[in-house]
Symmetry: C2
Subunit: 326 residues, 2 copies
C-alpha cells in the first residue's frame, strides 16, 4: 500500500509527476491508495485519479506544519518545494527559511514519528551545489562548493539527507536535476529562461530573445525525463547497499550548445520557427551564465538506471507532444 | 583596536590560544584591548593578561545568547566550541544543537548587528568532513562526504561560513585541524586518544595501551601548531582575494604511522618510555580508525602560509617543553 506525499506539488515538475502517477496508478510496483499534495497554495488535484487525493496549503517553514504532513505516515515523500536561485539570492532570510529550515523541519518531523517509521524520501537538489572553476565534465567525485545562497541551501540539505539516511530515520535520495527544458508556459524572468524560450516561443509563433552567444553550452533534461528520475529514485530508495552512503546523485542529461539547440529546432520544425529567434546579447545574463556548469559525467546515476533524453530533438518533440495542440 | 571573542575558550586549544595571546598582547599586528572568553562553563581567565579579560558561561544554542556575545562588536571571533565526534554520534539532537544550531545562531547574530559590522571569524572545522573511500592523499579538491553526524555538522557549518562570507556578513575562515597530538592531561575515551596516550603516558612513567597495529597512519599537529593556525587564520582573514570563495582550508600536518611515532619517542627520550607501551589490539577501535583519513596534500593552506610541525620528534619536544616539569 502506497501513501504518497508530494511537497511542492503546485510546481511544473510536481504537476507532471502527479499526471504520471495518476496514469500508472502505482509506484515501484505497488498500487497507490492515497496522495497528499502540498504547496504554499493548494495544488489543483488531478482529474480522474484512481486513488484518493487530498490537497493542502501551508507554509512548511512554520513550526508544526511538517509534523501534520507526516502524521499519516506516507510511505513515499517527494520533496520538490523550493524558492528559486534568483529569489534566494535577493532575499537571504526567505531562502534559508524555505530551502533549508523547511527541509530540515520535514526531516525532523519524519525522525520524530519514530516507532519504525522509515519512508522513502526523494529530494530534488540542484547542480547549483557546484561552483566554478569546473572541469570539462563534472563527475561524481567533484566537490560541492556552491557560489550562491540557493546552492548552499541545497548542499546543506544534501548533507542532512545523507546523515538522516545513514542514521536510519528515513531512506533518502537526493537528485540533482539538470535545467528542465522545454519548460511549458509563459516566459519567466529566470536567467536560464531563454534555454526554453528559444524553443517554446518560436513553436508558438512568437518571437524569442537569445541573450547569449550560440556557443554557450548547458545541461538539460525534459520535464518527462525529470519525472522519470523522480519515479526511478522512489523505486530505488530501498536499495541502500547499491547506492552506498553518498545519497545525492547528479542526474544524467544532455550537454548541448545553443547552436545545437537551434539546429535541432530546425530539424524538428523546419526553418520558419528558428527565424523568430532574435539575438540580443545581454551582458548581465552572459555573466551569470558563464558561471554555470556545462557538462557532467553522471556515471553513478547511469549505473543505477537513471536515463536521460537521447537527443535535443527528442526534448523538443516531448514539448510538442505534451504542450502543443495537435 | 582588537576586541577578541573566543567561544569554546575552556577547551585545550582555547586555553593555549589565550596563553599565546596574553604573551603577545597583540593579534595580526594590532594590540588587543579586550578578550571575552566564553564556554558552557566559565573559562579560567589567564593570569597577567595585558588586556581586559571577561569570562562568560552560557549555552550558545539558546535563543539570544549569541546576540549577547556579539553585542560588543568583537573585531575577531574564534569559534572553537563543539561537542566531539563520539558524543555527536551518541546524542543526535545534542550534536545538531551544539555543532550546527549554535554555530548558525552565532553567524546570524553577527549578520543581524548590521551597520557595517564585519568581524573576522575563525572557525575550527575538522577532517571529519571527509568520508572514505580516500585517495592516497586528500587534496583541496576532495569532496566533503562525511560518514558521521559530527562530520555532517562541521560540513554544514563550512558551507554557511562560505556563504555568509560571500554575502559580506563577516570575513570567515574555516580551518580543518589535524588530530591534535600530544594532547596534555588525562587519557580520555575518544577513539583517537591512543595517538597521544602512547607518547604522553610513557613520558610520565605510566603504561599506555596501543589498541591498533603499528602500521596505522594518521594526520597530526601539535597544540602549538594548532594555535599557530588559528593566529595565522585571524591575520589572513582580510585577504579575501588571495583566499577566494572557498573559505575552508585543510590545515597542513604530519602524516606518520604509529611505528614512526614510537621510533620518534625512542629518539627523543631513549628506549625506556617506549617499553611502557602495551600492545592490546581492540577490534572496535581498529574498525573506527580504519575509516579515518591517513594523509593530506594541504597545498592551499601551505601557499597561504600555514605551517605544520616539521617532524614527530618536534611534536614530542613541544609536549615536553610545555607540559613536563623540567
Amino acid at each position: 500500500m502506497n501513501r504518497i506525499l508530494v511537497i511542492g506539488a503546485a510546481g511544473m515538475v510536481g504537476r507532471k509527476l502527479l499526471q504520471s502517477l495518476v496514469k500508472d496508478g502505482s509506484l515501484g510496483g505497488t498500487r497507490i491508495t492515497q496522495a497528499t499534495l502540498h504547496d504554499i497554495v493548494a495544488p489543483q488535484p488531478p482529474p480522474n485519479a484512481p486513488f484518493q487525493v487530498r490537497s493542502l496549503a501551508s507554509d512548511l517553514s512554520l513550526a508544526g506544519e511538517a509534523d501534520k504532513l507526516v502524521a499519516e505516515r506516507p510511505s513515499v515523500i517527494f520533496h520538490l518545494a523550493a524558492i528559486v536561485s534568483g529569489e534566494a539570492e535577493a532575499d537571504f532570510e526567505k531562502g534559508y527559511r524555505i530551502n533549508l529550515d523547511a527541509t530540515r523541519q520535514l526531516f525532523e518531523a519524519i525522525r520524530k514519528v519514530g516507532a519504525g517509521y522509515k519512508p522513502r524520501v526523494v529530494f530534488t537538489s540542484s547542480i547549483a551545489v557546484f561552483g566554478a572553476p569546473f572541469p570539462e565534465a563534472i563527475d561524481d567525485e567533484f566537490l560541492s562548493a556552491p557560489l550562491t545562497s540557493y546552492g548552499t541551501q541545497k548542499a546543506v540539505a544534501e548533507l542532512l539527507l545523507s546523515d538522516y539516511t545513514r542514521r536510519g530515520f528515513f531512506d533518502g535520495i537526493g537528485i540533482r536535476l539538470p535545467t528542465v527544458c522545454v519548460r511549458p508556459g509563459k516566459p519567466n524572468r529566470a536567467a536560464s529562461g531563454f534555454f526554453s524560450g528559444i524553443i517554446r516561443e518560436p513553436l508558438n509563433g512568437q518571437e524569442a530573445v537569445l541573450p547569449v552567444s550560440e556557443d554557450v553550452r548547458h545541461w538539460h533534461a525534459s520535464p518527462r525525463a525529470a519525472v522519470g528520475f523522480l519515479l526511478h529514485a522512489a523505486a530505488l530508495a530501498g536499495e541502500g547497499e547499491r547506492i552506498g552512503p553518498r545519497r545525492n546523485l547528479t542526474m544524467p542529461g544532455l550537454s548541448v550548445t545553443v547552436a545545437e539547440q537551434i539546429a535541432a529546432l530546425r530539424r524538428v520544425a523546419g526553418d520558419a520557427p528558428a527565424r523568430l529567434i532574435r539575438r540580443e546579447p545581454d551582458p548581465a545574463i552572459m555573466r551569470i551564465v558563464k558561471g554555470w556548469p556545462e557538462n557532467f559525467d553522471a556515471q553513478r546515476a547511469r549505473e543505477l538506471g537513471f536515463r536521460a533524453d537521447t537527443s535535443f530533438e527528442e526534448i523538443i518533440r516531448i514539448y510538442m507532444e505534451e504542450e502543443l495542440p495537435a
